[in-house]
Subunit: 357 residues, 2 copies
DNA sequence: CCGGTTTCCCAAAGCGCTTTGAACGAACTG
DNA sequence: CAGTTCGTTCAAAGCGCTTTGGGAAACCGG
């Protein structure tokens, strides 16, 4: 059943039927009702390809999906996608994923642009040496970034969370609790979010008069394995008086490994070491589900996905214009994994200091 | 730059240019080279919507993405998608996700069919009361199922792993190690994979003369939380002589929670309890990453994704026809979490029995 | 040298939709 | 009542591609 047949059936022109269906005002109500009813009854659905060709609109938003041996589509992405999907449904837009390895990324965007298969794209996992913003802009594809490049001066629309503020606040809390030897098991600092987080940590330390050189900072992909490995490196053979007492972790997955290392080494939270983790709010892995409930900085990546879809649709339709920067605050939630820094019992000067407290 | 312009530029007809580009034989080699070169140089890419309209082919495969408050797009799906994406890239097809809540699922398939926006769909997470196979077949959409319905008689193409065999083998191993009190923390038995797994467990038990009523079976979504909760239920207040000594777990996520419960309750693996987990091969959560390395049944869900894409493309192109059933064997890999059943020291009759061994 | 193939290319007809521009009563206005 | 406006409908022209059905040259064997 196509438009022509439906029009014939109704003894109307294709024009009128099309307009009735698409809600144009210049069609009489009784006519519209007749058309709608007939379309419903015969299960007429416009051919999306024909519509796309005629309108030039694609009715879908695109994403270049990183694939390849070393790129793991991680759980963060799923959660994000899930939020995006929820909103996409409401707006009746589809998601089109174009898989591409990193080295052929720009080719993928060019293909998307040239073939006009989507109305807009979202960019995520912003890197320090981000090329895509310039690229998609020059290709004329409407876009919205999740996260932001290092230089915010460029003027493009984005949604980001306040990574810098979150880790500043978390660090400040550890410092207020008396921790002086801090470690930060960060994500890959090729990505800007990790850089922002590091900046937050450093800002808090500086404000407390702590040299940032004293921070034990490690940057690696956020997973169980790396969390375990790095925690072992930091704590296994360390002098109890020199090892960190406060740990910041960039992800629940890293923390999974960190906690495993702590268990193995017999380190207790929060007596021996405090930890604050960033929580992206995974429904399948919650901070309350750890043997010692985790203190976290929390921001739902799923909510971000929904919001991004909403804004991207607006950008495409022209309802949003201009380089709107949206930065979400992050909550710091204190649970059981943070506590006062342990007293350095064997230390002389420090010991007296603490006795005075 | 469109076909018309390119043709004009080359002083050729659109027909010839189109044919040259699409590799039809009836165009002279020198002409083809000229066309190819010009297309390359001017960055010509055919408009995908126009092509789709003209050919009736969509160049993409579809998936109805479950969304909604209670549906968590889980990590299994991401891994699967990742594999699918890898292969999709090679074949230059896109993935089109249509988000839909469960109650509007069939509507989504109808929309897909009517709008002709994809060439084929894959179905996953097969349920016991699976409706989709009949639906998509009646809609005339080529499809491939990941997993299978309960009654295999229906005759449709699918790819599945040997869930029944995997859990049979795992159970048999536990029985051979002397375990008699078994627990199975299964996935949601609304899904057929969980039913198949249960069948495997029961078959092994029956073969060993064990009544399947003695199995402590629990069915729930596979995540950390449920794993923890169910393990606590099973072990917290249980008489050490009555509690299970062998546990089967349907997913690494469940096991994450189970292990947490064990730690909390002071149960050691494998001295107090043995566990075998199904491993879908997540790059971010490995059985080797547990404090006690996990024995697993292993099958890469990512590889399945790639294979499904490959087959679906073949089905669409007509290279594969007929209801091909492909069932992958599953490896049983023994690591440190399995060992002989603990001796029931305090038991009288049993004690003598075991002394005789 | 001529009828019949081959080889290479073209004009034009769609694919199913949207949208422009015009037509035609009916309803207003002065 | 002529002139204008409004409301409703339609025919036809695209959107950019593929594909059908030729047709003109070049090639072939007899």
């Amino acid at each position: 059943m196509n438009l022509k047949q439906l029009a014939e059936l109704l003894q109307l022109s294709q024009t009128t039927v099309s307009r009735a269906l698409n809600g144009y005002p210049e069609v009489a109500e009784p006519t519209r009702d007749r058309v709608l009813e007939a379309a419903q009854r015969h299960g007429y659905k416009p051919n999306s390809n024909a519509r796309k060709l005629a309108t030039g609109r694609a009715g879908s938003i695109g994403y270049v999906l990183p694939v390849g041996r070393n790129v793991d589509l991680d759980p963060h992405f799923v959660e994000f996608l899930s939020g995006l999907g929820e909103h996409a449904l409401m707006r009746e837009v589809d998601l089109s994923l174009t898989p591409a390895p990193r080295e052929r990324e720009s080719e993928a965007y060019r293909r998307i642009a040239a073939s006009r298969s989507v109305d807009g794209v979202y960019l995520s996992s912003m890197r320090n040496d981000e090329q895509r913003i310039g690229l998609v802009r020059s290709l004329g594809i409407p876009f919205l970034a999740h996260g932001r490049a290092l230089k915010p001066a460029e003027g493009y629309a984005f949604l980001d969370i306040d990574n810098e503020g979150a880790f500043h606040d978390a660090t400040r809390l550890l410092l207020q609790l008396g921790h002086r030897r801090l470690a930060f098991i960060n994500g890959d600092t090729d990505f800007t979010f990790a850089v922002h987080r590091l900046n937050g940590v450093i800002r808090a330390m500086t404000a407390h008069g702590l040299p940032f050189e004293s921070l034990r900072h490690h940057s690696a992909a956020m997973n169980e394995e790396n969390g375990y490995r790095l925690a072992m490196e930091l704590f296994r053979d360390a002098d109890p008086l020199a090892r960190p007492t406060g740990v910041l972790s960039a992800s629940m997955f890293s923390t999974l490994g960190i906690v495993r290392a702590f268990n193995q080494l017999g380190l207790r939270m929060p007596q021996d070491v405090s930890i604050i983790t960033h929580d992206d709010v995974f429904p399948f892995l919650k901070p309350e589900s750890f043997s010692v409930q985790l203190s976290t900085t929390r921001s739902s990546i799923r909510a971000a996905g929904a919001r991004i879809c909403e804004r991207l649709v607006n950008i495409i339709s022209g309802a949003e214009s201009g380089p709107v920067a949206e930065i979400w605050p992050v909550e710091l939630i204190v649970r059981a994994s943070t506590g006062p820094a342990p007293a350095d019992r064997k230390a002389g000067r420090r010991g007296t200091q603490e006795a005075a407290e």
